[in-house]
Symmetry: C2
DNA sequence: GCAAAGATGTAGCATTGCTACAGGTCGGGG
DNA sequence: CCCCGACCTGTAGCAATGCTACATCTTTGC
């Protein structure tokens, strides 16, 4: 994997490194920014090892040399430093929380980007494009995503629904017809009710698309599964990145569908946006 | 600005560059990835200029040398290439939409991160920490953010509300009391109803926090304004990044507040998560 | 305790990025 | 029209960097 986050790689490979290489790994993990702007000689000196050891370390984490390693490190650092913020401390001031959560969110989005199945997405777009109506299902945080997706009906171009009441959901799923599409959103993909809804929707003749975080039981009840992987995290306080990644996937789906709807659709869309602007004050209020 | 996106910089500085330096700029903009993995000599050859010209180009865009330029380029590329995706084309296949929207989202988040006012955030956290109840207000896409924030009440640790009906909103705003907090979410900050709600909430004695995209009329009705700037964009089909940035800010607020609530709160939170797991199937279903 | 395998450091080399300087180009004034 | 100065641009050379072959030291298994 060429695009793998090299900082994560260093962390995971650390145990299987040789002793002196581990010194380099520790230095990198402790202060990646310093390593980034240092030369090979400086890194070797700081880690109290020889230069070739540093080079070997680079090779051990899948880089072709020190230069390559530095480039990848710059890449990873730009996306944030997941290694350092995975643990949010009670003593962290709000400023630290800002950095850590932004870092974490951006890194996770990059992670999801790399793992998103393009073929599945292409299929999902085709199904949505042919849909006569779309219903979004989700509970908890995923309900928010479903609501957001429903609000994008101007882009999808067909009636969209997102019931939040579980009885209404059951009714909607049961009444779906061939030609209509159910989009089932669940990060875990193991919530009982959501599995039921997917099965019912499918039995009703609708196509079913899943947006989920893992290759879970849910995918078995679906025509297409969009697996949106995010960074594993055990820290209870770390916000659920999954919903943000799911929102981005919804953005992608709606935009891709809209792009294929052509000029007439685009014209109406523009008119809608203009009317929406009428709800706003021009200057002060 | 040391952390400014160097690709954007190259694009904006291009006109004031000398002729041969412009050749380098064009090469960088045309294929940044290639430049990233090339040596100084290769870049010079590809751009049909001499090596010192490339070095001078690097200086002209604010880098201390070729090495530094390459590192910054890696940084920018990691965040995506905003220059190329700003225009989504009707002919784009879904794969291209994926890349462009991920790029755009990540770049925008980085943008927001750099501009977020840490002092204001610190103030907002202090206000929320002292709150006896929190009500979130928002319309349209911001309503989704409000709903999401409300769902984070276990983190905030006090009763949270997010009415979606505008009459109910008006009632809630009117009935707020000193000690309670209203969080008003509006990307434009110009929606009439939201301005009214902010004014009413304040008149009722509540503290008012705004989450908005620009320094707008809304900030005048608030105690603290969290301005979450995102990349300007005129393309009607480009998804509204603002709500994602707002969600991240909500994550930050809720996490920062939760971190200050201490062990007892943390224990109850954990118990809640465990019960939630009971709603899930263990293996297949 | 010895030998083999492995890990780490030393020394030297090719390449890289950088800079002082020279040649060339363009524009304005005599 | 020609000359002079300012300003680009390229050539040549240098210091330093990253890399590799080899030697030394450490560890491990018998």
């Amino acid at each position: 994997m060429a695009r793998e986050n090299v900082l994560e790689l260093v962390r995971s490979r650390r145990p299987e490194l040789r002793r002196s290489e581990r010194k380099v790994a520790d230095l990198v993990l402790a202060d990646p920014g310093r390593v980034l702007h240092a030369t090979l000689a400086e890194v070797a000196r700081s880690a109290r090892v020889s230069q070739p050891t540093v080079v070997r370390f680079c090779g051990a984490v899948g880089c072709s040399g020190f230069q390559d390693f530095r480039l990848r490190l710059a890449h990873s650092l730009a996306l944030g430093t997941p290694a350092t913020h995975s643990v949010l401390l009670g003593t962290d001031p709000p400023e630290a929380v800002v950095e850590k959560i932004f870092d974490y969110t951006i890194t996770s989005l990059d992670w999801a980007r790399q793992r998103l199945d393009r073929a599945a997405l292409r299929e999902a777009v085709a199904i949505l494009e042919a849909a006569t109506a779309i219903e979004f299902f989700g509970f908890g945080a995923s309900a928010v995503v479903a609501r957001d997706a429903q609000q994008k009906f101007p882009l999808f171009g067909v009636p969209c629904g997102a019931e939040s009441d579980s009885h209404q959901q059951l009714m909607r799923a049961s009444m779906l017809q061939p030609g209509e599409v159910a989009v089932v959103i669940s990060n875990t993909g193991r919530t009982r009710s959501i599995l039921d809804l997917a099965a019912i929707a499918r039995a009703s003749g609708a196509r079913v698309i899943a947006i989920t975080g893992t290759r879970s039981p849910l995918v078995r009840h679906c025509d297409v599964a969009l697996v949106v992987e995010t960074l594993d995290n055990t820290d209870i306080y770390t916000p659920t990145i999954s919903r943000i990644a799911a929102l981005v996937v919804v953005d992608i789906l709606s935009t891709a569908v809209a792009l294929r709807r052509g000029d007439e659709h685009s014209r109406r869309f523009r008119a809608m946006k203009d009317r929406l602007n009428g709800l706003r004050v021009s200057d002060d209020g």
